[in-house]
Assembly symmetry: C2
Homo-oligomer: 343 residues x 2
Amino acid sequence: MIEHSLALVGFGNVGQAFARLLMRKQAELEKDFGLTFKVTGIATGRHGMAIDPAGINLPRALEIVRKGGNLDELSKVPKPNSMLDFIRSCPANVLFENTPVNHETGQPAVDHLRTALECGMHAVTANKGPVVHAYRELTDLAHSKGLRFMHESTVMDGAPIFSLLRAALPGAELKGFHGILNSCTNLLLELMEQGNSFDEAVRYAQSIGIAETDPSADIDGWDAAIKVAALATVVMGIPLKPQQVERQGIRDITPQMIEEARRAGERWKLVCRARLENGNIVASVRPQRVKPDSPLYSINGTSSYVQFELDVLPGLGIVESDPGPETTAYGLLADWLNIIRGV
Amino acid sequence: MIEHSLALVGFGNVGQAFARLLMRKQAELEKDFGLTFKVTGIATGRHGMAIDPAGINLPRALEIVRKGGNLDELSKVPKPNSMLDFIRSCPANVLFENTPVNHETGQPAVDHLRTALECGMHAVTANKGPVVHAYRELTDLAHSKGLRFMHESTVMDGAPIFSLLRAALPGAELKGFHGILNSCTNLLLELMEQGNSFDEAVRYAQSIGIAETDPSADIDGWDAAIKVAALATVVMGIPLKPQQVERQGIRDITPQMIEEARRAGERWKLVCRARLENGNIVASVRPQRVKPDSPLYSINGTSSYVQFELDVLPGLGIVESDPGPETTAYGLLADWLNIIRGV
């Protein structure tokens, strides 16, 4: 039985949920997959870094971070000078990258993942940035080293979108997709349907942690455009930048428009679309009224939906209901297990 | 490059759609999977049988059957005495089983599949009967011979339900599922919403080939119960017979009930459910009113839906829109490619 060594870069909500999921699944992974593991390194932005080749005590690490402490105290090696130094020093087979990312550059996640691959680790991330900005580079680098670059959690959290298309639809030709990929705007539109003004809806979404302090990336459709670009780049095999996605957010949706749609039995949704036309991808994010006969109609709150159009399946839709940090954490776990299984 | 030899047992709508799909995908399969194939045998109930070790001319076979002729004329060997004799005589690597099946016994499909496996062929079927009545036996037999028994098309046509759970959700624990799995009743309920009486709806569904001459298997919930049993048996790993599914069909749904639901903004749907409770599966098929916030609400016509409840994903739903015979045929193709890829 091989013992796998895992390094975690970024230890916020997702990283911590992943650590808890690893602990909860430990016995099951040993029983069902014959695998044992230890977390040999955890690096954070504000709570220090720890490397322990014998394995870090995860409950202890979670407690330290929860109490606002510093992980340095768990480290058995001299403190690395930087995140990249940490990655180079940490004895691990797989790196899980979940640090805050700049969506215009994909950094510093791209550098973290590249360094991990150069050091001989598989690279797994929940960050969309590296997929949009460096998918080809990281995939080719991984391939050249007999490693994998995996990113299931980047679109629709842990719902198995990428592995579905990679593993379960052989011989099918993908022509396009559409769906609801941004949770925040979906919730805001629903709050407006319940009678809130746009500003009230934003304030409520902020209060429950769904909208950011500056919610413009969601509201103006950027987050959705990045997801469209990531999906198109990977599953349609044609690199697409978020800037190439025709984009319109939900700022101009008024309570009057919401009410008019309701009277017609329809709902406003921020709809993502991509379609192959003459070898090019035509992609858009824009508010649309949807009718009750569309699966988009019943996607509520922070749930999401994507429907693929394939030559052999006219409409194959995936619904993800009620996601949370553990859902995203599961995508990281699935990526790791799929690496081990060679899927 | 290996040339694969395929045998088709049953050559009705699904078998013919599969033959057309094979022809359409031939160049792509060679290019993308490096595989070439020939169909060495086709056996039908009413249009004879042909075996040709060099490969049957598929367009010719399709034309003969379309014109009501007999495939015997294409055969290069003495006519087999029976379907089982055909299977034993046909030089093939994979058998595709699509004959009419008795749902109470799974026969003669079970015998066809067992014989194919005993003769060293992989066995693929679109028939639910063998999954419900002989899943363990056929899977164990296949395993003992280094072969596979595959059945993607038995539930939701070619939508990748079984391969999703087999290949894309490692380490996830399935707790239950619910959905709409019978197309005929879903269409009938919709026709009643449009103002048709139950009998008018049945007659229309019969006229377009969705309802059988005797539609009771659909209307009384048997087809749905068989699908629940097949899904539970395979994906939850606990054998379940259709008789163990609590079952209520749609005969008692009146236009008044449909209208009452409509006034409340709801719709009647025939809902399938299965859930693990204390190690046992509790399963049911029964009409239920669903609200607009349920993905079931927007499942129209012959589309279908299943939502899995997993420990790590609270709700993962799959929508299949607008299926046809080619959708089912794709499930057979996917099974074959997954056998070759070892997925």
